[in-house]
């Protein structure tokens, strides 16, 4: 059997980035769904090592109100 081709490459591995900053809210907002919950590793293609760091960074930035916990909809 030939080796299975890799669909995704981890974005943090490609940039050789070992530390994910919780203050960089623009970067983290790319790894969040429409309802502002965390995006799974299956869809984003992040490796396991960086997904664990990313989850901690998102949780920290939520505490400091840089990212929302849930989607806020304005009343009409």
């Amino acid at each position: 059997m030939p080796p299975r081709p890799k669909k995704f490459i981890c974005t943090f591995c490609r940039n050789e980035q070992s530390y994910i900053d919780y203050k960089n809210s623009k970067l983290l907002s790319g790894f969040i769904t429409y309802y502002r919950s965390m995006q799974s590793r299956f869809h984003t293609g992040v490796c396991l090592k960086h997904q664990k760091q990313l989850a901690n960074a998102i949780k920290k930035s939520r505490i400091m109100a840089l990212l929302p916990f849930v989607r806020y909809e304005k009343k009409k």
């Binding site: 070992s18 203050k23 970067l27 920290k60 400091m64």
Partner: protein, 187 residues
């Protein structure tokens, strides 16, 4: 034991921008220095909106600092910051030896935008490469035409084979009929 820390604090939005900067110096930096710590880096972000409401407030001033402090003094510092009315919220995190050099908020954003641009350019290049690969497929189609001619030849040969086999069957049938019609056998 000396350890490196990082603090991010939110200051009340009822103050002006200049007063808020002074307030951060008073409530954060002075307390650390009194406890025997040393501030290595500080950065005042300015006004910024919250992602959700915190006690009827929609925006505040952000202040980030890195410092070295004895780990015993940490409890007292946290207690003092909790009592302080002008600080809405704060978060203290440990720093390792592996953590990168401190950056201001504007530097982080500019670095992110440059990385994002590079990523988009690489995506466009990959899409262009896919488009250029299309004519190669046409070459394969020409090969297919040759295969189709081969297939057609095979089909014709099969038809000929069928034609050859048909008369044999007829001969067998005739013989069977002859045998059946023979009265001498008494079937």
């Amino acid at each position: 034991m000396l350890q490196k820390y990082e603090i991010l604090a939110i200051i009340d939005s009822s103050l002006d921008e200049k007063k808020a900067e002074q307030q951060a110096q008073e409530s954060v930096n002075k307390r650390i220095q009194e406890a025997g710590g040393k501030i290595t880096f500080e950065d005042f972000w300015g006004a910024r909106g919250f992602a959700y409401k915190i006690g009827k407030q929609t925006w505040g001033y952000y202040f980030c600092a890195q410092f070295e402090l004895e780990s015993k003094e940490m409890l007292e510092l946290k207690r003092d910051l909790n009592i302080d009315g002008k600080i809405i919220r704060f978060l203290i995190s440990k720093l390792d030896n592996h953590s990168p050099a401190p950056m201001t908020h504007t530097e982080i954003e500019t670095q992110w935008t440059s990385q994002e641009k590079e990523r988009k350019i690489s995506e466009m290049d990959s899409k262009k490469a896919k488009r250029t690969n299309v004519p190669k497929k046409e070459v394969i189609v020409e090969d297919d035409e040759e295969e189709t001619t081969k297939k057609s030849v095979e089909k014709e040969s099969l038809k000929k084979m069928e034609k050859k086999t048909e008369p044999k069957k007829d001969i067998i049938d005739r013989k069977l009929d002859e045998i059946l019609e023979d009265s001498s056998l008494d079937l």
